[in-house]
Structures are given as structure tokens and as C-alpha cells.
Subunit: 141 residues, 2 copies
DNA sequence: TTCTTAAAGGAGAATCAGTCTTAATTGAGA
DNA sequence: TCTCAATTAAGACTGATTCTCCTTTAAGAA
């Protein structure tokens, strides 16, 4: 995490984007907030730490980060959009009671799925990647 | 499909809900519109065929149908909410270019996943079901 | 270091999907 | 047929996100 945050400027630059304090602050917020924050979570955090960054800027920067694969959007069935700063291939545990989302990393599962789709072509569709959405409840709920 | 539509009243009644013309019309619209319509698609269709049904009613009925598992909500990374009248266990093909969603039914895949999770427990989490989001592009795009 | 300029950000108005409120209507059991 | 809790109609309201337009700035060039 330490590393992830100190490299933020480099990551942005690598994508050919201007390195601005706003972009650094917003990407840092996503890493720090960690658990799939909503835009509102990010905006609150930003306004607390960088009161001069406008709300519209947060949305615009989020779009830029997504376009450049520095952040992913996560779909939920009820809620507003969520954002995910974890880029390695992972799946999601969705709590159907409290709407919490957690990452679920499982190499064995990835291998099984990759292997399955290596042989199984879907007609008329070119697959790029996949995410398993696992619905259930966290015991702590 | 014929059957699916003629049974609509029965399906609603089975859930202990009042069978109203509005509910029948809206569930029928979802079946007929088929490919994961948005609320707007549904509202347009309803207003064309049943001009007296209010927009607010459509949203309320959709919520009722979802609560009673007659319809599921689906969402894409960008878009507004979508609705899905297919209840059998299926996965989704998402087009990253045109935002189209198609159902992907694959018994073999279900079996592989079910079997995998029969043995693999996720700590602190009680799994209910899962959906694989397969991202890519349709050749027709 | 300063200059130049395309890219980015600030402020706040505008949009619009979805929700809420209240009064009127109605499905379905008695 | 009667009754009433459940449902619907109408449209005002909300709030997340986008848009517009003007100002500022990052970063390569001189």
C-alpha cells in the first residue's frame, strides 16, 4: 500500500496523462478508502483533505482514471456506482443484506474458468475478461 | 414465450400479490422487450400500449416484482438500471463497446462452479448464488 | 528560467432517472 | 354485493451526475 501510494504520480504519468494534484489526491483516496467506495465516499474524503477540489472535478477525474485503466467501476444491483482501485484479476463478494462488496481473490478459480473458456468459444462474442459476482451474506451482518 | 405470457396472472397470484392490470402489463412488457430493457424502455412500451399507467406506477411495480423474484435487476458499468425477466440460472455477456447485455445459459459452467464451491467455503461469507459477468464484444458491433 | 498552449480544473446551473406524497381507486375475500 | 387494505395516478421533489464556460496549470520548447 505504501508503495502503491508513493507510485501514484508515476502511474498517472505512464498513461500519458498530466500529473495534477487533483488526480493524485483522488487516486490516493480510492486506495485509502479501499472497500469499493462510492463517488460520495470519495467526494467526502477529498473535501475533507483537499477542500478546494470541486465535485465536478472528482467525477471528471474518475472518468479519466477509468478510461486509462487506473480504476475500475463496479456494478451493483441497487446502489450508485462504486470504484475499485485493485487491478489484479479478482472476483466480488456482494452482501445482499448490507450492500458491502469485498474482493475475492482465488487463483484456482481463475485457472478453472480460464481453462474452461479456452476450449469453450461463445458464438458471436469475443471474450475479454470475466468477473464472478458471488451473492450472499457476510456473517458479521 | 406464449406460455410465459399467458401465465402472468398466475405467477403474480402465486406470490400472494393482487393481480392488477398494471402488474400484468408491466411483466408482459419485460417479457416482450426481452433484451434487458431499461426502465425507460419499459415506460415507453407501457405508455404506448396502456397510456393511463403512470411512470411512478411502473417503478413501484418493478420494485414489487423484484422483491417477489419475478424479475431481476441488472446493471452495466455505465448505464441506468436494466431489468431481466429470465429467472433460470444464467450468466451475462456484456458488450464493452455498445453496452448490450445478453443472457448466457451454460449448464456445464454452472455445474463446474457449483461443484467448485461445494468444497470451497469462503470464510465469513454465506454464499447464496453467483453470476458470471463475461465482458467482451459482440461480433455484430 | 520563462514562454506557450493544450489540457485540466472550478463554480454552479442543468439534467433526469428514480422516489415520495397524497388522494382516489380497486381487487378479492367475506 | 360490500368492505377495506392494497394499489394506483399525478406530479412535485431529490440527488447523483453532467454540462458549460471561464480560469488556471503542467510540461515541453526556447
Amino acid at each position: 500500500m505504501k508503495n502503491k501510494i508513493s507510485d501514484i504520480g508515476i502511474r498517472i504519468k505512464e498513461k500519458g496523462l498530466k500529473v495534477t494534484p487533483q488526480r493524485i489526491a483522488i487516486l490516493e483516496a480510492i486506495y485509502k478508502l479501499d472497500n469499493h467506495p462510492t463517488a460520495e465516499n470519495i467526494i467526502d474524503f477529498i473535501h475533507k483533505n483537499h477542500p478546494s477540489i470541486a465535485t465536478g472535478t472528482v467525477y471528471k477525474v474518475l472518468d479519466t482514471l477509468i478510461e486509462n485503466n487506473l480504476v475500475k467501476r463496479v456494478r451493483t444491483e441497487r446502489d450508485v456506482m462504486r470504484y475499485d482501485g485493485v487491478l489484479e484479476h479478482h472476483h466480488h463478494l456482494y452482501c445482499i443484506e448490507c450492500d458491502l462488496i469485498e474482493d475475492y481473490v482465488d487463483e484456482e478459480l481463475n485457472d478453472i474458468l480460464m481453462n474452461y473458456f479456452k476450449n469453450k468459444k461463445i458464438e458471436g462474442f469475443e471474450m475479454k475478461d470475466f468477473v464472478l459476482q458471488i451473492n450472499g451474506t457476510f456473517n458479521k451482518c
